[in-house]
Amino acid sequence: MKLKWWHIGLLIAFGLAIISPLASSWPDGLERVAEDKGFIDAAHNPTFEIIPDYVFPGVGNEALATILAGVVGTLILFILTYGLGVLLKRREA
């Protein structure tokens, strides 16, 4: 099978998911402001958890759990946005 441009694009996305354990674990801009201005404690815990904090549950190695979460999420998003495109595109007679 000949690789198409979007196969490469998808591989790049999965590549990013695989290097995601390298991400900075510092709080992001909003969390930083919420901590500094004293309203971080207003945040509620989620009512249910599936893959909380991008760490796949039940995997001992944290880097591996993060990669797994990233790969699963990337795949879900590809299927969802590609599928939405298929559903919404013009019907060319």
Partner: protein, 212 residues
């Protein structure tokens, strides 16, 4: 910039839900009219890429990080309505599967990082390209400026929502949010420009797709 549950009051959460639901509904209508065969794989790749890239927090100053939003990139490549749909998909999955962004704050998150980010960046990009004339440089400059502004504007909207919800007075939240996101926006601008430059070098025709 994903707002968790508990930060917004009912009125702010409700109003942003209604506005975002309307915006996403209208995006579906627009996409239904304009989306063609060639857009479909780009929709899929953008959704996947933006989700993955959002996981990669980069440090912006001591003890604070930021990550790509991606609305600018999606809007510049596909058009603002398709961009809103991609961002809505990313934010909905992050909210329900990864518990990133609260369910009650989903409307505000889609408003800030979807509707605002996509439309602000798209029109700034278009303005820069038409002012400078169509070229590689104008695409990169427009992409950078559009992306930076999308983060800055989304941060201002977030600060206003927090202030309306009584979490922090506007005089405190606004400069704090705008200040840190002025830095994070530089990252957004650079990533957007790098991806646009990669697209121009490999598949320049993708930039010529009809915008949705």
């Amino acid at each position: 910039m994903h707002i968790p549950d508990g930060f917004l009051n009912t009125a702010t959460a409700g109003v942003t839900y209604v506005v975002s639901a309307g915006g996403v509904g209208y995006s579906v209508k627009e996409a239904n009219k304009k989306l063609g065969e060639k857009h479909v794989p780009l929709m899929g790749v953008m959704g996947a890429f933006i989700f993955a890239a959002q996981m990669l927090n980069f440090p912006v100053m001591g003890g604070t990080s930021g990550h790509l939003i991606g609305g600018a990139l999606a809007a510049i490549l596909l058009g603002p309505w398709a961009g809103v749909l991609i961002m809505a998909c990313v934010l909905i999955v992050q909210c329900f599967v990864f518990q990133d962004g609260g369910i009650t704050a989903l409307g505000a998150n889609i408003f800030n990082m979807g509707l605002l980010a996509c439309f602000v960046s798209y029109y700034i990009y278009r303005a820069v390209v038409s002012l400078m004339g169509e070229s590689r440089t104008s695409t990169l400059v427009g992409g950078f400026v559009g992306a930076w502004t999308s983060v800055f504007v989304a941060a201002i909207a977030c600060a206003i929502e927090l202030a309306l919800s009584g979490k922090s007075p506007l005089g405190v939240a606004l400069p704090a949010m705008a200040g840190v996101h002025a830095l994070i926006g530089i990252g957004e601008g650079l990533i957007t420009a790098v991806v646009l430059s990669f697209v121009m070098a490999t598949r320049a025709d993708l930039l010529k797709l009809q915008k949705v």
